[in-house]
């Protein structure tokens, strides 16, 4: 079973980490074990890919899955490095559990991304969600974190109930819990209702309009590294599932459902950007921005075809890199022991003067989010645009352009705020060398891949086979 080695390695490292924490509580050690775990899992991917193909029942071990695993594990690794710096600021808060939760949540996400079966899909999803709740509410001294945690817990449980009821209906209609069987269900009313309920739950996980309402509060309440995880990993995993599902034979959506998804995409793009307009809290802005970005991604999913699929994966990678960079800047600026993170625009004001490197990374991230060259976001948006034009989804493409314009306002006003002259803000406590390393790597990727994206695109194409 070399093919599932990345999962096994992660599982082993969960056990190793638990043992390490049990023997000696030390945050640097826990961070190191976690980081090594992610790297080890990443290293097994090439070997796993070259293992003999097997027709497993539970996991879809295709190139696309390995691709998503690689991205998820990389994000996990980056966050483990970032987290080791971030939590150092909180003196009375043990950080070891954060790394356990991070490792478990990532494993859950990997299982979800690969699941071929409702049982594993559900278990992976909920493992990830539950660990994430712990990560969101992690700073115990912040009431906002607890509030964000319970809001996320209840609303995600509500969506899980919808998901389960939907799959229940689908099982009743088809007699199977295999994802392929369920999606190829005969078009009976019961199956349609089940798919609709599953779609609602997917909408929650992707946080698209009208299931977006929890996003800003939870992003704002979560500590910055958890916010980055929340913004990136669940979406990647769910996208992996959706991409696989839409690629299955006989999985074409009914025209009615297509229209619903189109409307959802358009509303997400517009509402996400409109909501972000006059916000003062950067985490909220990133939350709203993520809503809009998932709207763009839905356009690529609707476009389907080879271009659309490449666009989905490429955009997902772009989004992951950019969000990690943006949240990473906040994490480096923040002090985990404080009552709140450095998260308002006021905290960023004058950053170009006090911390030019950080400001440059943030600018790059914001340009990428805005879809401006030379950041990678530009290429990613071009791809979605091309996919939409290819399929002649004119009004969606038009909405995309219009909402991108709205988006530019707040992205660039943040850049302007950073460029404003002000007395330098007091530097955040703690040496966050790890955080800075992460930012360096990520921003380099954002820039280099924005200028020369061909290698990544070739890789994506190869992965999608």
């Amino acid at each position: 079973m070399i093919q599932a080695a990345p999962l096994a390695v992660q599982g082993i490292f969960v056990a190793v980490l638990l043992a390490a924490v049990a023997i000696r509580r030390s945050a640097p050690l826990a961070a190191a074990v976690t980081g090594v775990g992610f790297v080890a899992a990443l290293c097994t991917i090439p070997a796993a890919m070259h293992g003999a193909a097997i027709a497993g029942e539970q996991f879809d071990l295709s190139g696309a899955t390995y691709g998503f695993w690689a991205v998820i594990l990389s994000v996990g690794f980056l966050l483990s490095v970032m987290g080791s710096g971030y939590w150092r600021g909180a003196k009375n808060l043990p950080a070891e559990e954060f790394f356990i939760l991070l490792l478990v949540a990532t494993l859950g996400a990997c299982v979800l991304a690969a699941a071929k079966d409702v049982l594993f899909l559900f278990l992976g999803l909920e493992t990830m969600t539950l660990a994430m709740i712990g990560m969101i509410a992690y700073p115990r001294h912040r009431p906002e974190a607890a509030e964000a945690g319970i809001k996320y817990l209840i609303l995600s449980a509500m969506s899980s109930a919808f998901l389960l009821f939907g799959f229940g209906l689908l099982e009743l209609a088809t007699g199977s819990l295999g994802l392929a069987d369920v999606l190829a269900a005969p078009n009976t009313p019961m199956a349609v209702a089940g798919l609709a309920m599953v779609g609602v739950a997917a909408g929650f996980k992707l946080s698209v309009v009208p299931f977006h309402i929890w996003v800003p509060d939870v992003y704002a309440g979560a500590p910055a590294p958890s916010g980055a995880f929340l913004a990136v990993v669940p979406k990647l995993a769910v996208l992996a599932v959706i991409l696989r599902a839409t690629g299955l034979p006989g999985a074409a959506l009914a025209p009615g459902a297509l229209h619903v998804v189109s409307v959802v995409a358009a509303l997400s793009m517009l509402a996400g950007n409109l909501l972000a307009l006059q916000q003062q809290n950067v985490k909220r802005i990133l939350g709203f921005s993520s809503i809009a970005h998932l709207g763009y991604l839905l356009v690529a999913i609707l476009a389907a075809g080879e271009v659309g699929r490449v666009a989905v994966v490429f955009y997902a990678v772009t989004y992951a890199l950019t969000m990690v960079a943006a949240f990473g800047v906040l994490a480096v600026l923040s002090n985990a022991g404080a009552a709140r993170d450095a998260e308002t625009i006021a905290d960023l004001r004058g950053l170009f003067w006090s911390r030019p490197g950080l400001a440059a990374v943030m600018t790059l991230a914001l340009l990428s989010l805005a879809g401006m060259p030379p950041a990678i976001g530009f290429i990613a948006k071009m791809y979605i645009f091309a996919a939409g034009v290819h399929q002649e989804l004119w009004w969606l493409v038009g909405t995309m352009i219009a909402s991108s314009v709205i988006g530019l306002f707040y992205y660039l006003s943040m850049i302007l705020a950073m460029a404003q002259r002000q007395a330098p803000a007091p530097a955040a406590a703690g040496m966050q060398a790890g955080g800075r390393l992460v930012l360096g790597v990520v921003s380099l990727a954002v820039l280099v891949l924005g200028v020369a994206p061909e290698p990544l695109i070739a890789l994506v194409k190869a992965m999608l086979g």
């Binding site: 599982g11 969960v14 029942e57 539970q58 043990p94 559990e97 356990i100 939760l101 478990v104 949540a105 494993l107 859950g108 299982v111 049982l119 594993f120 278990l123 992976g124 909920e126 493992t127 539950l130 660990a131 709740i133 712990g134 509410a137 992690y138 115990r140 607890a146 945690g149 209906l169 009743l172 209609a173 009976t188 009313p189 019961m190 199956a191 349609v192 209702a193």
Partner: protein, 162 residues
């Protein structure tokens, strides 16, 4: 046919539980509802699930719930507040929404003619065999899920006990 009375009991007790004012009473009604559900499971031939429903759900989960609620030591003011929070109009929109959803789902569900085929009891042995052969990874995953909950709860609870 003990199914129907059990089902009726489950619905009624659940309704009482969710509309209740006193959380402790409501949880006790919820226990009865769960027991009635266990009976329903048993009637459906899922004896294993019925046992789990009694032991784990009614026996462990709700009892944990009860402990916590009792720790909260709710007073008279809380009861009065609860009274004002559950007045009639509060229910208008929720019931309207769920009603519409219910009609739609019931319509879809009952309009579907599944091929005629008698239902079949699934014995605990079959469940166990599947669980520990092909689905053994699911057991591992479930343990990880519990681990996630455990670690999160452990971390979050620690200071509260201080």
């Amino acid at each position: 046919m003990i199914f129907w009375p059990a089902a009726l009991l489950a619905v009624v007790t659940t309704a009482i539980a969710v509309t209740g004012k006193n959380p402790v009473h409501a949880l006790l009604w919820f226990v009865i509802s769960l027991l009635a559900m266990a009976v329903v499971f048993f009637e459906l031939g899922a004896a294993f699930a019925a046992a789990l429903e009694v032991i784990v759900y009614a026996g462990a989960i709700v009892v944990l719930f009860l402990f916590v609620v009792m720790m909260l030591s709710l007073d008279k003011a809380a009861a009065l507040r609860e009274e004002s929070w559950t007045k009639g109009p509060v229910w208008l929109l929720p019931v309207g929404f769920t009603g519409m959803l219910g009609v739609a789902l019931a319509w879809q569900m009952l309009n579907t003619a599944l091929p005629a085929r008698p239902g079949r009891a699934v014995l605990p042995a079959a469940v166990g065999l599947k669980l520990f052969s092909t689905d053994f990874l699911a057991v591992e995953m479930a343990s990880l899920l519990l681990l996630a909950g455990l670690v999160a709860a452990f971390h979050l609870a620690r200071e509260a006990q201080k």
